[in-house]
């Protein structure tokens, strides 16, 4: 449903998006993850037809958003980071305007307003001026306007920013529910959020995609190594030395009361480690694996980028 091909965007001299490629299949929920200023909003603005790319193509529902934007926009429900609300009208009259803007007629709009108000739990606020609503409710009105025309594709830019934790949870649930019927692209700089909502994540940093995969694959893909955690009854130093001698082991460190053994990716050393312990005459109380959290990955991705930059600078 969404195809981004060699997309590049310059703001004057500044490169905001640097030749990125990714796809979102029908029915998928994909997270665009990156720190502030990574190019997430720019990418979304190009996908929604708000901005034109400097080069490359953005396709939504088989419409090229640079040349056939008007048709493409009919298939998109967009919630920008700054929720686009008129504060001097009621929720009903705002949704009415949003619906008509997307070409719904009078009868369709009545039904759809009822539907989206129910979906977004706005029943009690339908005749309240938007200016009087709290940030959390404004967010819901923002989501309501994005789905009023039943778009195939939803593009949500930082949908949980600036709202309180309970509302964040509700919004995430709402997005998950919407994801059952819509193709969703959301952007976020919050890692747990993406792992909670999304099927797949595209990590973007300084305008470039640094990783793209399903969340579970991503952790395998990135770490290049994985950790085995052992709880051994025996002398710490001797156990450490013994474990280090096991073929393939990268590093062993002791974090009381565990020995953490770093193993190469795609190589399962657990039985060799077990044998080594038994040969030493010690006993194993527990053995487990430690997955790298998305935070670690993210931190690593971004810091690696920076350190590479530094190296280039030194050269």
């Amino acid at each position: 449903m969404i195809r981004v091909q060699n997309l590049t965007k310059y703001y004057g001299e500044r490169l905001a998006v640097d030749n990125i490629n990714f796809n979102v299949a029908r029915g998928e929920i994909v997270g665009l993850l990156g720190p502030n200023g990574a190019g997430k909003t720019t990418t979304m603005r190009i996908l929604t037809g708000f901005l034109m790319p400097t080069s490359g193509d953005a396709w939504v529902a088989d419409c090229n958003m640079a040349t056939n934007s008007l048709e493409g926009r009919q298939h998109i429900g967009y919630l920008p980071e700054a929720i686009p609300l008129y504060t001097d009208v009621t929720v009903r009259s705002y949704l009415d305007f949003a619906g008509r803007l997307r070409g719904l007629d009078r009868n369709q709009i009545k039904d759809r307003i009822d539907d989206v108000v129910e979906i977004c739990h706005l029943e009690e606020y339908i005749d309240v001026l938007i200016g009087k609503l709290s940030r959390g409710f404004r967010q819901r009105v923002g989501v309501a306007q994005a789905i009023i025309h039943e778009p195939e594709v939803m593009i949500l830019d930082e949908p949980t920013i600036g709202i309180d934790p309970i509302q964040v949870a509700q919004t995430r649930q709402l997005i998950k529910d919407l994801g059952k019927e819509h193709t969703v692209l959301i952007s976020s700089h919050i890692l747990p959020e993406v792992s909670m909502i999304c099927d797949r994540v595209v990590i973007i940093h300084e305008g470039q995609i640094v990783a793209e995969d399903r969340i579970e694959n991503l952790s395998n893909l990135l770490k290049g190594s994985w950790n085995v955690r052992l709880e051994v009854k025996g002398p710490v130093k001797a156990v450490t030395r013994k474990l280090q001698q096991v073929r393939g082991v990268i590093e062993v460190r002791y974090e009381k009361p565990y020995h953490i053994v770093e193993c190469p990716a795609k190589q399962d050393l657990r039985s060799s480690l077990m044998t080594a312990i038994v040969q030493g005459g010690w006993t194993i109380h527990s053995m487990g694996t430690i997955d790298m959290s998305l935070e670690d990955i993210f931190l690593r991705l971004t810091t690696e980028e920076e350190s590479q930059d530094d190296e280039e600078f030194e050269e």
């Binding site: 920008p80 686009p84 803007l101």
Partner: protein, 239 residues
């Protein structure tokens, strides 16, 4: 077309719900009323015409208020973030710009209509010449439309309403007062400068003449700045 009307009607209604628009309309009517009295007084209440309030000060007031009405048109949407809603909806940029313009033109027409009690008073207490009154209002409306389109353009190039009003005021002042310079100059250059001035086409309307050249002039200025506004919106997508 449907979208243009939709955007125009939203724009017009938002004037009616905004306290600012009422303040602007009140001050406008008060100023116009004062100018009307001032003119009648200066003729010792002998002259039953409205040329007084349409004269230099009247049309300056109108231009000023057109700039104030137009300053919010696009700048405010950009500030609210609703600009993104409009420009990502399946609506053409031209429809957005035209809708905004027509919405504000509606508001200006209402404000002008509220001054119609001046001629009604003249008619009640005297025997005014209807012709110049009708052409005078036509002139004011055309001048107002041109001023609004200039204000719309100014509003499209900034996110700050005050800056938009100042830019619009600047363009209007230059286009207005350049006519006086033109009149002072002789020859072709003087004529050309006079012709491009907002000021030099107005007096004909006040004496009851429907000057096609003047009508075409005001409509061209309006069209030019609407076109520039559309280009400015389009440029925003590429920046």
């Amino acid at each position: 077309m449907k979208n243009t009307i939709l955007i125009a009607s939203r724009e017009f209604r938002s004037y009616l719900t905004s306290p600012m628009a009422y303040i602007v309309a009140c001050v406008f009517l008060a100023l116009m009323g004062a100018l009307f009295i001032w003119y009648l007084d200066s003729t010792d209440y002998q002259d039953t015409s409205i040329t007084g309030y349409l004269d230099i000060w009247g049309n300056l007031v109108l231009m000023l208020f057109a700039a104030v009405l137009a300053m919010r048109l696009i700048a405010e949407e950009k500030k609210l973030g609703t600009w993104e809603l409009l420009l990502t909806a399946p609506v053409r940029d031209t429809e957005v710009v035209l809708g905004k313009f027509l919405g504000s033109l509606g508001m200006l027409a209402v404000m002008l209509a509220l001054t119609l009690y001046f001629p009604l008073l003249l008619w009640a207490f005297g025997d005014p010449d209807i012709g110049p009154i009708i052409t005078g209002y036509l002139g004011l409306f055309l001048l107002g439309a041109a001023s609004l389109s200039i204000g719309l353009f100014a509003s499209s190039i900034t996110t700050n309403q005050i800056v938009a009003a100042v830019i619009a005021g600047g363009i209007l002042a230059v286009l207005y007062f350049i006519g006086m310079a033109g009149d002072a100059m002789s020859g072709a250059a003087g004529n050309i400068i006079s012709y491009i001035s907002l000021y030099s086409h107005f007096p004909a309307f006040m004496v009851g003449i429907i000057d096609t050249k003047a009508i075409i002039y005001y409509l061209s200025v309006t069209a030019l700045f609407l076109f520039l506004s559309m280009r400015s919106v389009e440029t925003g997508r590429w920046s």
